[in-house]
């Protein structure tokens, strides 16, 4: 696939995600079930050119979507939308989460399209089996935490004003205890995935540099993210935090994780900066 074809596919994806976002919002605001169903269908259709663009580039440049803002953010959006569709496959009534997740996916892919699309090659340091493991689990963990965040927001909205207009629009979602349990499960899964991501990175660092841990800012902030979610799980499992208190904890932890993923490379002088900013 040529780069021109890839870019055409990506713009089709951006358009479909924008349309899906608009339809999810219209369906939510005007309580039109049918419009929400169409929005979901448009989302699934949007995954096709998105997958084609990622796969085509992968084959052409010879490596996965690991390097540079365009590749990294586009692939995060892809994994997020796939996770969203899988969630809806199991819990159809969670369609209302599309009003948050699809605009985010649209903004991510649209933002990626504005970034340079240089075809950076894998350097000798990056050429490792552990890179794939590290990145795959990073995407899984971030996807899980973002989903947990969305569920926690829904729980809070319904809990604060059970009779309010927003709660009425979210009435078709599963009961609060199920939302609460799902939030916990996504936090738990993300915690495991993040642990594996950190371990894979440590093994990779040992292979590359002879040390598994060097307190580089992104290593430290990944550990901080993991510990923040450890606190969230501790609060739930050993101190009995449930419902809104747990939801607030899950919401509070996400900015830390996002900072570790995106902010550290901008704020600190780190050897990991290249993955996001290119090199």
């Amino acid at each position: 696939m040529t780069q021109t074809t890839e870019i055409v596919f990506m713009w089709v994806t951006v358009s479909l995600y924008a349309l899906a976002s608009a339809l999810f919002i219209i369906g939510f605001v005007f309580r039109k079930e049918r419009v929400s169903s169409v929005a979901l269908a448009v989302t699934v259709v949007g995954l096709v050119p998105h997958l084609a663009a990622i796969a085509g580039r992968w084959v052409r440049v010879g490596h996965g979507p690991f390097i540079g803002f365009y590749e990294v953010v586009s692939s995060y959006a892809f994994v997020g939308v796939v996770a969203f569709c899988l969630l809806l496959w199991r819990y159809r009534s969670l369609r209302a989460t599309g009003i948050v997740l699809m605009p985010l996916a649209f903004l991510a892919v649209g933002g990626a399209m504005l970034a340079p699309k240089s075809e950076l090659q894998v350097t000798a340091t990056l050429a490792s089996y552990w890179l794939a493991v590290h990145v795959a689990f990073a995407k899984l963990s971030y996807g899980s935490f973002i989903t947990a965040f969305g569920l926690a927001v829904i729980h809070i909205i319904r809990d604060r004003r059970p009779d309010g207009p927003m709660a009425a629009r979210l009435a078709k979602l599963p009961p609060q205890d199920v939302i609460d349990d799902l939030t916990f499960k996504f936090v738990a899964a993300g915690f495991i995935f993040l642990g594996v991501m950190i371990a894979a990175g440590a093994i990779w660092a040992n292979e590359a540099w002879g040390r598994y841990w060097g307190w580089d800012p992104i290593e430290t902030w990944s550990l901080i993210s993991w510990l923040c979610y450890a606190v969230v799980l501790h609060l739930r499992l050993t101190m009995g935090w449930k419902g809104s208190r747990f939801s607030w904890a899950a919401i509070a932890a996400l900015p830390v994780m996002l900072f570790a993923a995106v902010g550290v490379a901008v704020v600190y002088n780190t050897i990991h900066g290249a993955y996001l900013t290119g090199y």
């Binding site: 350097t123 000798a124 199920v178 371990a199 590359a208 002879g210 580089d216 800012p217 430290t220 501790h234």
Partner: protein, 438 residues
Amino acid sequence: MKAAARVYTLLRSRRLAVWLIIAFIVYAALATTLSGDDYSRPYGSSVFIALAALLGASTAACAWERTRAAVRMRGRQGVTQGAVRRLREHPRAVIDVQVGVEDVPVRVSKALRSLHLRVQRYGEVIDARSGIGATIGSPLFHCSLALLFVVIALGQLTRTEGLMGVVAGGAKPDIRESYGVLEAGPLAGELSGRIIAVPRIERSFVANGVQQGVTPYVEIRSPDGAVLASGYAYANHPVRYRSMLVHANDHGLAAVVSVVSPGGSLEQEVLLDYTASGSQVTPNGFAVTGPSGETLATVLLDLPESGDASGSVPSVRVRANSGASSPSQHASIEAVVQQGDSVDLGQGLVLTVGQLTTYARLSVVDDGSVYYIYALFAIAVAGLSIALLSPPREARVLLVGEGTPRLHVDVRHSRGDPHFPARVVEALERAAGAKEDA
């Protein structure tokens, strides 16, 4: 003894565990932000070590508590009279039995087994619990974490890491004197004494389609010369033997020189680091001593200011002073010498540049804790996955009523999963004939 008990009670506190993790988070965030570019420095401070030790002790206490709780849970046999009374008087669910009463125990047992529960009958109560795997998750995770603290600490205390320059075709023993830079933990013993050899250095090496640049071929040999491990050392591909890892850190230019004096001759390898500010694996100079140990001359070699030792006419700058005075600031003798040429250092000393070649700067790490850390982390992740995704579950069923038999059901899920009671009740309704099979 009372004091020890109080300390243990404090350490096992769940609240303390949470606050210690928060303290660790705050310390790490501040340390990384305020430490400038030397990010690892704050983690050698006594405050951090004390905090980590406290967190480790808290984790160990939690691990012990959870292990005891798991053992208690596994050892629990039978159903107490109180539990039977609660089941009779305050069941979580009541299901009408629509099948023959004599079939109920078998059908209920089968239904509970279909939920991956182990079923036992205690008198009139059918008790079903998750298997042993569900109870070991949390203890396994916390024990592994506690051991990780110990193993990581031991690793830091005993590991050695250093930079060693080895000229192409040369070898050096793994002893302290061979390293230009060596960091050794306070409990690190003698180095291995193995020989690190570099038989050749490739100018351009491609592995798996990726250009690796200048790449040394490294051999790790036993002290008696037997090759223990060998291979090209490049990024993500160290040469390893047991806990020893040899990475190619960099490369540079080296000179093999000889100095002939009236008393004999000396051959010396000098590594010519190509940046003045770069870390040198060994000083790029040497002293020539006389028969009684007095310093006859001090010699410094580096690259000419305009020139290239690897160019068409390889050359090196020689600076020297008689006696022990360093020639780095002021040299009484300074000359640019080509490969094979000599320079007179005075006092009957003649320096000959025998060969200008390449050396590999090797990072040699010996850390026996690494594989144990990997294994413990894998166990911890397995334990965590079990603890979070397959926690202890229990269901109890009591058949009551003569004329209109009913099942009294109690369900417990240690994580409070709202789906589990519904799944149990649904399975039991099918077993009791109160609900049609799907």
